[in-house]
Symmetry: C2
Subunit: 139 residues, 2 copies
Amino acid sequence: MTKDGTLTRPAHTGVPALPGEAPPTCELREVLDRVGDKWSVLLMAVLGDGPRRYSELRRAVDGISQRMLTLTLRSLERDGLVVRTVTPSTPPRVDYELTEVGHTLSREVGALIRWSEAHREYISAARRSYDAEEAVREG
Amino acid sequence: MTKDGTLTRPAHTGVPALPGEAPPTCELREVLDRVGDKWSVLLMAVLGDGPRRYSELRRAVDGISQRMLTLTLRSLERDGLVVRTVTPSTPPRVDYELTEVGHTLSREVGALIRWSEAHREYISAARRSYDAEEAVREG
DNA sequence: CTGAATCCCCGAGGATACTG
DNA sequence: CAGTATCCTCGGGGATTCAG
């Protein structure tokens, strides 16, 4: 966080935006967007337990479409968080594995998941309570 | 995470889905979705530094629309993560403040932000590298 | 088995205007 | 100041099909 409490568009240091270039957005935000991505979080969590094949990931992250699985993995690979290893056998085999940095993020994600498990009862109760009072107000 | 490595739809314990009821989705997923929300993360981070007024939040989280600010705050309040305090003066004043549990989540979010700052150079470099190689492959 | 390519829909979310 | 209400767009992402 920037020291004035502003989270986005921190003093963009120079680099005049050339026409056609990406607008000078906050890098922090970009990284948070990555972290905030639903599928990314789930995949990072699974891969935290060790390398997985494409098909294994598909099964592990229930509900993910082939498209999103591939796109997300590519994105994670591009960010240097996972490495992709192709074994040109028949049938072909592709393994995905966290990088060293990927593991550090996976640990953060793990903490978040543990937080979720530890507080889901609380949240569930809070929602019921809120909805109940709301229903009262509306009659 | 469930012990078989499956992240979603963990053995839904009973509660036969009555027609018209919400489908039996994983609660963990719901909580992660909350955490994964861009605006929620940013707001939690700001509120981690102390109570803020509506207008202060609007300025702090640059780029958020009035609509999303209100919706996100309502959602956080519903989950028992923030409390909303109205002071019926003229002009009216509304303060938002983290609950005890909200603070614990804010700390997790803070860790994530620190991770982002610590690794954004790495990620940025990884992207440049990836894009460069990709450009080569495509000719 | 591991993808790439296409089509297409729906809803998250921005812009704007109005209110207590 | 702190919202609410409405409209409307845009792209995230699912389903499906084809390919190496």
